[in-house]
């Protein structure tokens, strides 16, 4: 219990973050067939927003509220400038979004410097659960993410926009024939994905070092989530995040952390070999 509970909490933290990042990526991929290599940068932008606000004297909660809006704005911007023009050319999108990713990283580094950005944790204390001290912040993170995911699920299943999304994922042309504005749906979905990534950036910021390149490390993990879980379903993202998050935390406790990442990559590739469609079929 002494180690099992904190380990489980660590795993849940990582799984939560991966779900938020992976959700946007999987929806975008499922809808438009676009793999957005700049997705990690939305996360970085979220973390930097928090850092800026806290440096200027604002609270964590203000950052938590504003960062998704920043993500949303950048999402609309990048969708309108780059992604929109490349829908039928998935391969070129990889090159273009990778270019965008490099540009954002470098601009952030030029503006803010390459040093680590300061971020303050809103809950310093620990909560005692079954006699084991658990960091309060991680508990908050997991609960808050759960709430956000539940809201997304609700919107995906029950709202008009969710219906449009599912229709476009299922059959793009048929959805267009039914009068769904594909362009607007795409652009809104992309921006919401970006906002979720920015939110995850704020949530993870107090736990990691915040610097211009931080998105890249999560990007590769988010790929595996999408690849392993399958695209276009929330259940797939959940399954993928759970597997990748659990594996990485588990390996982290037993072996060196970068070997753990390599092992996760290898396992993801092996899973890909035997289930090319992903764990959860659409």
């Amino acid at each position: 219990m002494e180690t099992a509970l904190p380990a489980a909490l660590n795993a849940l933290t990582l799984i939560s973050i991966l779900m938020l990042v992976g959700l946007g990526m999987a929806i975008i991929f499922g809808m438009m067939g676009v793999i957005n290599l700049a997705h990690g940068e939305f996360m970085t932008l979220g973390a930097f927003t928090l850092s800026c606000i806290q440096t200027l004297g604002g609270s964590y909660w203000l950052g938590l509220a504003l960062a998704p809006l920043v993500g949303l704005a950048f999402g609309f911007l990048i969708e309108g400038l780059v992604i929109r023009h490349l829908y039928s050319r998935p391969f070129e999108t990889i090159l273009a979004t990778w270019g965008v990713s490099l540009i954002i990283q470098k601009l952030l580094e030029i503006i803010f410097g390459s040093a680590m950005q300061p971020v303050f944790n809103p809950f310093e204390g620990a909560v005692s659960i079954l006699g084991v001290a658990c960091p309060a912040y991680r508990l908050f993170l997991v609960a808050f993410t759960g709430l956000v995911i539940a809201l997304c699920l609700l919107a995906f299943r029950r709202s008009q926009f969710g219906l449009d999304l599912r229709a476009v994922i299922q059959d793009r042309d048929m959805a267009a024939a039914m009068g769904i504005n594909i362009k607007r749906t795409n652009s809104l979905a992309f921006a919401i994905g970006a906002a979720l990534a920015a939110l995850s950036g704020v949530l993870v910021a107090p736990l990691v070092t915040v610097y211009a390149w931080m998105g890249v490390t999560f990007l590769s993990k988010a790929f595996f989530v999408v690849i392993v879980g399958g695209t276009g379903t929330i259940a797939g993202v959940a399954a993928g995040s759970a597997l990748i998050g659990f594996l990485e935390t588990f390996f982290n406790y037993t072996i060196h952390s970068s070997l753990a990442q390599a092992l996760v990559l290898i396992l993801a590739v092996v899973i890909f070999r035997f289930r090319p469609q992903g764990l959860v079929r659409r």
Partner: protein, 345 residues
């Protein structure tokens, strides 16, 4: 593979006009490079030497991407694997240059063989292949960074021994500007000619048939997955070779040699030069390395920004990939005929 089968795959047919154009441009290029040391200064010579070694890396990617259409987005993994194998073996284990070079090539080939087997036989193609290989480079760099006591971490390893080869008891050590330059020149020439000879016959035709339609090639009786895996492994081996030579010529190995920036750069070299033309990516490499030199003299942080802008521009300015330019040049018969067809995928 039996000898007779190899003879069929690599049989050399008489030269056609396109072949003559390639040979003429290659001869012209190498003649220029051969006389360059007589007027270039020491600095210019070392820049050109590094560009020549890097051009072998560009050739290795072009062999894979240009012929089979499969893009390895993390090709620096193999360059870096070769570089670190070479550095560790010569510096820490005191192994001779030739053995270390072969081991470096083998290390890169083994990584490619393992990763390639799972990916290629799983039907992972196009953008999916690009992404998983990119992840490979990201993780490769992290592994290098975290085993700092062995790899030197961020700072890397310095004071690698010079390349030296023993032949019949005599020992040749490559040091100094000119010997190293000519060594790099020879290496680039051999790899360029070797790859060109390999793909100008039916072997190249099979690879390009797989590129244009894997199912059709399969239906014609070619084992597409096996061909792709072999091409990937050979490509990785050459990347490893260039990484190993680069690092021992520089005398230093750093984590940049395995990271995503170099992986991005090599794609730019190939794209600029024209995918599939072999000599084009080589020239692309010279041009871009020169450009990086110019930009770095203004500011060292600017380069990734330019690289990123370049990627976006390539996609938008030349909708069919940068091939449009290569085809145009090819129609002028400068690059030996724009072989690449269709969009850059």
């Amino acid at each position: 593979m039996s000898l007779s089968r190899a003879a069929v795959l690599f049989r050399q047919s008489p030269l056609v006009r396109r072949d003559r154009a390639f040979l003429a441009s290659a001869a012209g290029l190498f003649l220029l490079l051969l006389i360059y040391p007589f007027w270039g200064d020491s600095y210019g010579l070392s820049v050109m030497r590094d560009a020549l070694i890097m051009s072998v890396f560009a050739l290795s990617l072009d062999f894979m991407w240009g012929q089979t259409g499969l893009l390895s987005f993390g090709h620096s993994t193999f360059f870096g694997a070769g570089a670190y194998t070479m550095a560790l073996l010569t510096l820490k284990a005191g192994v001779g240059s030739l053995t270390a070079l072969l081991a470096a090539m083998a290390a890169s080939a083994v990584v490619a063989l393992l990763v390639g087997y799972f990916l290629i036989y799983a039907g992972v193609r196009r953008e999916y292949f690009a992404i998983v290989t990119l992840a490979l480079a990201l993780i490769g760099q992290q592994i290098i960074l975290s085993f700092a006591d062995l790899t030197g971490g961020d700072a890397g390893l310095i004071d690698l021994p010079f390349l030296s080869f023993g032949i019949n008891g005599a020992k040749f050590t490559f040091s100094g500007d000119k010997p190293l330059y000519f060594f790099a020149l020879g290496l680039a020439a051999v790899v360029l000619l070797g790859l060109w000879l390999a793909v100008r016959g039916s072997y190249g035709k099979i690879l390009r048939a797989i590129q244009s339609s894997e199912q059709r090639a399969q239906a014609l009786g070619h084992n597409a997955a096996a061909h792709l895996l072999v091409a990937f492994t050979v490509s990785a081996m050459l990347a490893g070779l260039s990484g190993a030579v680069f690092t021992s010529v520089q005398g230093i190995v750093t984590p940049e040699l395995i990271g995503p920036i170099l992986a991005t750069e090599v794609i730019v070299w190939v794209a600029v030069g024209g995918r599939g033309s072999l000599i084009g990516p080589m020239i692309g490499c010279f041009l871009v390395v020169r450009m990086r030199q110019e930009i770095s003299s203004v500011s060292t942080t600017l380069w990734p920004l330019v690289l990123g802008a370049f990627f976006v521009l390539v996609v938008f300015a030349a909708p069919g990939g940068i091939m449009t330019l290569a085809r145009w040049l090819g129609s002028l018969r400068i690059l030996g005929g724009g072989r690449g067809k269709g969009a850059a995928r």
